[in-house]
Subunit: 420 residues, 2 copies
């Protein structure tokens, strides 16, 4: 025998035992149900992507965190850190024949090589929903509506969280009014996005490095003190197109029944630099956790990877943070949904009858967990406590003679008779 | 602007556009439904695995085909070529507290760095079902029964395919009776598995290299000429334990309603060397395609990765071959399942009413594809032909006045009235 192997998953990677999958499937099922209900079509692509594509699009921070490798032909490949570059590639490849606007979703595994602090993982799954080919604000409203539907489907009450909404375009207008030239805006966005992670002094120093003078820096921080859409309107003016877009989104959210969840928050920036319009991030009401989901309008991405310029809105919704929020709110144990049958038998002589009954129930669409060995009734019912079945059927010699079995409800303990 | 990027997926990797996902989801949904109905519990693990674990278990052929790479700490990682080593690791890690026997399933992406011949891909998805901790032949019967249920769920008739069943243990008994010592059996299995890929002369030469004399080689080929369980019984003797196991499996398959699909086929070997008992492979009836699924009993794998010796049966069922079989049988176009609503509106004035109706229908659980822009009725109904919705609702100014809309069935063209 050779040396023992570690039974642990590689560092930062997750194993999902059946009890973990109950949680994961709760999230995945809610994602799928919401996206389908909102008319998004499912797509997918391999987790292995060309490194060049990922580097072209990503901000520099992500680029350092990419798991890159070469295949045996020297091809430079990587495990994708996010789905959007792949989506842009797939859309660009068929740009002349796709029926725009398209509404697509996927649930994609993504990798980041991060320092392993505070239990952060190096891989996660992410629901991505995107609408490509329309500049209507209804796109933003549909995407946020689908995210709200997913949160409700998971059992999270509307009061437990908020969607913080801002607009890159609005902040751009306001920065321009403060005398900060357009070409400095991307750097300002990146600097402001670090707020909370580094001190305001450090941000000011970053802005100074970008060529902003002290007055412009002071004005930038003043903008961040705006706390309402009305406050923003006072600065931007009522004729601001970005303000009109935000107002439209809030009105639509009301009409679609989730206006209460939305709040204006000028501090939402989104780190990556490709957003162009409305941006949003969802947080638990107590701000105990990182962002649950986030996204926005990115009208210039397709051109960036080489496609035709095309308006687009998208969001990413990871499984890790929402899992933490769910457990924090609902407790560690995911409630069992009892379902189907547990079937046992006393000796091998009753096994053929058990097999036939099992096959019949399964053919009718029922879930049946069939005992793999003959068991005494005490042993069978003793183990039934661990089962997620709704009803238990035990077949003994007398049942075969009688041609009927007792069906025991494991929740209510009631019994009924079933003809064999 | 920099040089254009290729819009293709990396070589051997697959993109799934929505029309491809219809097929993929047909397969995945059938896998999930069948495994759940048979009482298997879902598990999963990251596609990145430690290289050492994969090399420990895999046959030499697979080992050369592994996508291996190092992370930035010099950890040797790989994209798994199969799920079984990961399953063995996860089970070994909790061997003292898992409620054996366990029935687990997963739908896992797996990678092989293969030569790109005849459209073979470098990644695929695989349903894995395993029962660990029981030596009952009912385990084999349950796993095959679940695979049959998945095939039926996909719409494949029972007559379109067969499960070829043999037994490593039986072949071992027969080889021993032919005077071939136990320690040469693994090499004989690997040589015989190459049948059909290389000539019988080349196999004979491989066997000669393993130390078999001409008589033993002739006897080995004689065994492969056995075509029925009765023929095998004549050679093995009625007291053969391996024969008894096979007979038990055929009887259970009859009782479970899939006996007609099973056939004895002594030529089924399974390349990888860790199988110990019954082995099986499914093929389309015309043998046009590669194996649809395969597996068997592997009682020594857990000990191989460092766990306690534990009996186990498992199978792998890839998405590529069954997809080819499905398309061959059912045609290239996956039939549309019409579902839900398509909603449009004439001007932005009707949009709030459309949004409210949409929100109401979605809250009731319906799928609604809402037009992102106001459209003339001609344009709206013209595009409805491409939709998979069952009913179309168009809201014009008169409908708002009337307080009711027409609902048009896109299949039957019938109309009904719905109050707003």
């Amino acid at each position: 025998m050779s040396a023992p192997i570690s039974f642990e998953a590689p560092r930062g990677m997750r194993d999902f035992y059946p009890e973990d999958m109950v949680w994961r499937n709760r999230i995945f099922d809610a994602w799928r149900a919401a996206a389908e209900r909102f008319g998004f079509k499912n797509y997918d692509a391999c987790v292995v992507e060309s490194l060049e594509l990922l580097q072209r699009k990503s901000g520099e921070e992500v680029s350092e965190q990419i798991y890159a490798f070469e295949d045996k032909s020297g091809r430079k490949l990587a495990l994708r850190p996010e789905m959007t570059p792949t989506l842009a590639r797939m859309v660009a490849a068929r740009q002349s024949r796709l029926p725009f606007p398209i509404k697509w979703y996927t649930m994609a595994q993504c990798f980041r090589y991060e320092r392993m602090t505070r239990g952060r993982k190096r891989e996660h799954y992410q629901l991505n929903m995107d609408i490509i080919g329309s500049d209507e604000i209804l796109c933003e409203a549909e995407i946020l509506g689908a995210a709200v539907a997913a949160m409700r489907e998971m059992g999270l009450p509307d009061t437990a969280w908020h969607i913080h909404v801002s607009s890159r375009a609005l902040l751009g207008e306001l920065l321009a009014k403060s005398g900060i030239p357009q070409d400095q805006h991307p750097a300002v966005f990146i600097a402001l996005d670090k707020r909370g992670k580094i001190s305001d002094e450090e941000i000011a120093s970053l802005l100074r490095n970008e060529g902003l003078n002290d007055e412009a820096i002071a004005k930038t921080f003043e903008l961040l003190a705006v706390t309402s859409l009305e406050g923003a309107a006072a600065l931007a003016g009522e004729d601001s197109p970005a303000l009109a877009d935000l107002r439209k989104l809030f009105a639509m959210a009301d009409e679609m029944g989730y206006g209460e969840i939305l709040m204006f928050d000028i501090a939402v920036i989104r780190g990556l630099s490709y957003y162009t319009g409305i941006v949003f991030e969802a947080f638990d009401a107590q701000r105990k956790f990182r962002a649950i989901f986030g996204g926005g309008r990115y009208d210039s991405l397709l051109a960036l990877v080489g496609g035709q310029p095309t308006p687009a809105v998208g969001m990413g919704f990871g499984d890790v943070v929402v899992g933490e929020v769910l457990r924090d709110l609902l407790g560690e144990t995911c409630p069992i949904q009892r379902d189907g049958y547990l079937i046992g038998y006393m000796t091998d002589e009753q096994r053929p009858a058990a097999l036939k009954l099992t096959a019949k129930l399964r053919a009718e669409g029922h879930k049946v967990d069939l005992s793999l060995v003959a068991q005494k009734p005490k042993h069978f019912f003793g183990k039934s406590g661990n089962s997620s079945a709704l009803e238990a059927i035990y077949i003994g010699p007398d049942d075969l003679t009688a041609g009927a079995v007792q069906v025991k409800n494991l929740e209510t303990r009631e019994q009924r008779t079933l003809a064999l």
